[in-house]
Symmetry: C3
């Protein structure tokens, strides 16, 4: 029989992670789930992204006994499942008060426009211990995604990549490659950025460069994958708990 794997709020509504369903199309399987689990799930279904055997699908996709339907609620949609991010500005000058941080506010504007809630904001000097400590606090607080900005260059004081590597459990080289690849089109200096990305627990950490222009360009390059990554990481955490 085909199977539905519920993610995040869909799992909460269904009260289970995996469930065997009936039907020969996605729509029939979802109707069957709505009847079984009732209102909370039925209300969420129209807004869910559907994948069949790990490929994006729509309601008319046909399924067979071996199919697994993944049901992904809109992460940044409903209150409970909205993405919560932290913005960590790393700058000696800004933290000493001799310069007003313009990158943090620029990122905040862009993230709010993307319906991502900015739950944490901090400003630390280019000190590895201070950066690591803030990252660890926010990871412990289950922030979905942390965007650092600054400290990724060649100067002796630039240590954000080192602090990030000390904290993440798994690196995601593709995110850094995508940001540099996007930056390279506009500015050859983008390739001097040593920015990294990775995951720690259920938190995604992404280094952005220090200048407002470069940081917002990099954020725009990876925003389309942040929501998907957060959905998977939330599932991962719960999979652990189960």
């Amino acid at each position: 029989m085909p199977t539905i794997r519920f993610f995040a709020a869909a799992r909460d509504a269904a009260g289970t992670t995996l469930w065997q369903c009936d039907g020969t199309t996605v729509q029939q399987a979802l109707d069957c789930a709505a009847q079984t689990f009732g209102q909370p799930l039925a209300q969420l279904l129209p807004y869910c992204t559907v994948m069949v055997n790990e490929e994006q699908a729509d309601r008319t996709t046909t399924i067979d006994a071996g199919s697994e339907i993944a049901l992904l609620p809109p992460v940044s949609g409903g209150a409970g499942s909205r993405i919560h991010c932290g913005i960590l500005t790393v700058s000696d000058r800004a933290s000493a008060g001799t310069y007003v941080d313009k990158t943090g506010p620029a990122l905040e504007t862009l993230l709010q426009a993307a319906a991502i809630s900015v739950a944490k904001r901090a400003l630390v000097p280019d000190e590895q211990a201070a950066i690591e400590s803030t990252l660890r606090d926010w990871i412990a607080a289950s922030i979905d995604v942390i965007f650092t900005n600054g400290g990724t260059g060649l100067s002796a004081r630039d240590v954000t990549p080192e602090a990030t590597r000390a904290v993440v459990e798994r690196e995601l080289p593709g995110i850094a490659e995508a940001m540099r690849s996007a930056g390279r089109q506009k500015n050859p200096l983008a390739d001097l950025s040593r920015q990294v990305a990775g995951t720690a627990g259920r938190t995604l950490v992404i280094n952005l460069p220090g200048s407002p222009t470069a940081a917002t360009e990099c954020l725009e390059a990876v925003l389309p994958l942040v929501e998907h990554a957060v959905t998977i990481l939330r599932g991962t955490k719960d999979a652990h708990a189960n």
Copy 2:
């Protein structure tokens, strides 16, 4: 005097690796080799790729006393020198029998069309020990190239990159970059794949993602370099043995 470096089947036919030749063009040098080493080599020569001082050349290229001609037989051509690959599907669900592996067969079709022989097929769960063990067996069996599929994402169970890194001696970051760069054009989520590639002994190991579409797209992106890599790795092994 110019030198010919014989690779793989050409070396077997000549019975030597390096040989000093005469002539002021590639064609003259090859004629000279054919006369010296006889039929087995003469039959192979028309099908060989020729490089002069590490750059692709043709039969009319002029050579001098310092030139080194590399003679590379068509790897996927003749029976003895055909590329042998292994396809390792990594999937909890497929190995538990709750899902039929579609990615392995899709890769097999594509590889056979490219005249690459599929010498090994296996299906293991997302367990690092099981993945490593299969990789090591196939490397010991001198499989030319191993394509894994699955287990490269963000989920807690995804450990294929870790298993691969534990097995390879040298990473080839360009192969992973090329696959993500190709994937990025079509799907921003491609950058969440942590796939790696590298070499162990004379075996090339390449991680592909889990979905049939993404895996075949990635394979197509790197297929043009696989034959060349295998030729070099076969030469490397023999260079060691000599």
Copy 3:
């Protein structure tokens, strides 16, 4: 008050690194600096690149009390501040005299055309100890940038990336990515190059591939960022010394 940060020759001319200035535009701040520090600085100012808060700016850019103006002299311009590079050819055959190195001279021609002085040239076999030793000597001699060529492939003898990694303190993955990305457009085999880049002290080290064509293409891909990187690294060194 706005601040000017003087780099390299500008710092030598001003006799200081950081200086608080007056004015509401970059031009006014520079006029103010010229009056204070006199001829040596005034003569240099028209040739300097100006950045305000880490973004490229021109003389009409407005500034406020929190602005920091970075003043970057033309590195490859004046005699004292010209970039000095080293070219290290890594090749068993060339160092044994059985092949004449063509890549080193091709790079030298290109670098001189870019107004970069070739201060060091050497040829070593594919031996990790020999490569490391030359790199360390040139780093100790404060060479601005070292271009190696050769030894980045898959052969057992290729160890240039390993030698480079043993010497650099921080890797710059974007430089290697940019070179492979440029190479990939022309030759799929570019992705087999394991070339790396990084910094050691105030020296930038960049691996280029072995063939003259590939090496010059890679150099052209990263030349636009070399001057900027050297400026920052020179600033870094002096920041340390101060």
